[in-house]
Subunit: 360 residues, 2 copies
């Protein structure tokens, strides 16, 4: 017999992108930032008092929350610090969605959302995106008609990179009966006025997710945060969060990295510049790619142009120690998601494709 | 209106011990180790490659799990690494206990257990400990009759320090219909043959919790682990755990600290030696204290000896910048839980009490 709950026994866990041991592999598969984190991070480690680790860390990461609040023009009570964005996603479900209640999302979207829903034994309700990956006008109405309690919206969208305009996000928030979680994991790479924190704080039903994994080159640190009205943030801080969810070293590093906006912005600009170049060169090589406001491109492999199908191309690139992401899922099977790397990494990718198919 | 689930709205969050900003306060309230962590921790920070933080950390902490497996003579598949012991407690509930099913525990016990049960919307079932804090012979039968799905047993017991004998633990595990989680947060300070990892791995229903917070002086790091049969460990690793639950720096520190058994054991011996001394001196001052196998003492304040009640004594000590723990709860209101500190901290506590009540 198994002790697992039925919903757990029936589910499959989240499949993250491959993390090869080989240091020569070019990783364009998990949307990591190709540039290093702020040099302030090294200073934090150099000066960290090891003896202080004897004691429990600041329970609610107040120092970090103050830095984040200042950055976004909100109060620390509007911020919850979490172990990566993933912890925030889980906490929003735990706090606000009963087992059996529906969790809404677009299709396609970040593949962790359905996994988290299943852990809470919640059905998912999916609304397909338009052909061009935009959010249909009927999105909120569909969610409301289905009785959705919590809607996840990743913006810029993964895996397409499409940005939902600020005005449409505000309309969605207003129209939805339930909570709207705007997952802005990739927002640092977008050309946007970034009004979502103000929108969230002024609302009663919006939480914005941010992470240091991508924009601050700290995927290895596991640090993110949520921004929202105190009515939504407070119960997650005081009730459902694991007590002491963030360690003392991580809190100090995250504070230093978030405060060093200049360093982070420089990396965003370099990524955006490379995104423009790679987009253009891949289109020249025959791929179809929608405009991306994230640090990745969703490239459609056009078999009619004499290319392999996407899965074969994924495999051939892997044989050349270049990892990109292939999703064996509807609307995704003719596409590869390609993270923007450093210029030399992008060159190796482009060279490999040219080598496979010749210039056009 | 509130978006909170009913069970969340009705609950109160976990109240952790005070963490004062004042560095002159003597903290004998949260069972932290008074001695610093292994010097290997400093080496890890000195040599840590900051650039590697760009990338996601090892997803399942395999390096740490190998070190833990070697230490306990089990396989890495029998180990899950978690963000403190708290994450393991949550994962066991998430994975194995449906909302509405009962979670069993002794009374009194670690006050986080009922909080975690309430988050999952599970009723708790409490079996009172005997007068001397031992586990009654009827414990397993009572749990089974109540239909308990998961039983938490903290051993050594908190807040008394009482050790449940190995033979009784084995009998409990055998007799219980549900899962037994043995919370060994304080086991490093106990005089025991530590057969529980072998017991867990050979069972189909036992998980042992260990933490680096106390025995390895790393409360600030948030690192713990579970030991058990693969049938119980595997679904927590592959399904219910937040993906990338542990950061890259923490994994390396935990590996180094756990591997440095010599350093850790020296701190345990010093704590045990001080425990013996403080126990004896507090008894001389009129307190009743059961034998403790943990790094704290549960001291009954005897009002008939001319002392204040426990709450007043807690307050008077706090005025002298000495924090101990007072629980306003049944069977606890005439008692203080006092962490064993460094010799000078313990002296300051003893001097303060002598100053208040005179020598006897």
């Amino acid at each position: 017999m198994s002790f697992e709950r039925d919903n757990i026994q029936q589910m499959t866990g989240y499949a993250s992108g491959e993390q090869p041991d080989d240091p020569n592999t070019i990783k364009l598969n998990t949307n990591e930032n190709p540039y290093p984190a702020s040099p302030k991070v090294r200073e934090v480690l150099d000066h960290f008092d090891i003896e202080s680790l004897r004691q429990y860390p600041p329970a609610t990461s107040l120092g970090f929350r103050q830095v984040a609040a200042d950055l976004h023009g909100v109060r620390p009570e509007n911020i919850i610090a979490t172990r990566g964005g993933d912890e925030l996603l889980r906490l929003v479900i735990t706090t606000f969605v009963n087992p059996g209640e529906k969790i809404g999302m677009s299709y396609p979207t970040y593949s962790l959302y359905p996994v988290l829903a299943q852990i809470q034994d919640c059905p998912t309700f999916e609304v397909p995106l338009e052909e061009d990956w935009s959010v249909p006008d009927s999105f909120a109405e569909a969610m409301n008609n289905a009785g959705v309690k919590l809607t996840f919206l990743v913006n810029p969208h993964a895996p397409s990179g499409q940005l939902v305009p600020t005005s449409q996000v505000a309309e969605l928030a207003e129209a939805l009966n339930g909570i709207l979680l705007i997952d802005e994991a990739y927002i640092d790479f977008a050309d946007t006025d970034a009004t979502s924190p103000a929108l969230a704080v002024a609302s009663n039903n919006v939480i914005v997710l941010r992470t240091l994994s991508k924009g601050y080159s700290l995927a290895g640190l596991r640090f993110g945060y949520g921004i929202g009205p105190e009515s939504l943030i407070s119960p997650m801080i005081s009730k459902t969060r694991d007590s002491y969810n963030l360690d003392a070293i991580g809190q100090r590093i995250a504070e230093a990295a978030l405060a060093d906006q200049k360093h982070a912005r420089e990396s965003w600009e370099k990524v955006i510049s490379e995104r423009t170049r790679v987009h253009s060169e891949l289109e020249d090589l025959g791929f179809n790619i929608p405009e991306s406001q994230a640090n990745f491109l969703l490239a459609t492999v056009r078999a009619e142009e004499g290319m392999d199908n996407a899965e074969s191309l994924y495999t051939k690139l892997k044989e050349r120690h270049i990892l990109v992401r292939y999703f064996n899922a509807p609307r995704m099977r003719d596409k590869l998601r390609i993270t923007i790397g450093a210029p030399d990494e992008n060159d190796r990718l482009l060279d490999a494709i040219r080598d496979l198919y010749g210039s056009r």
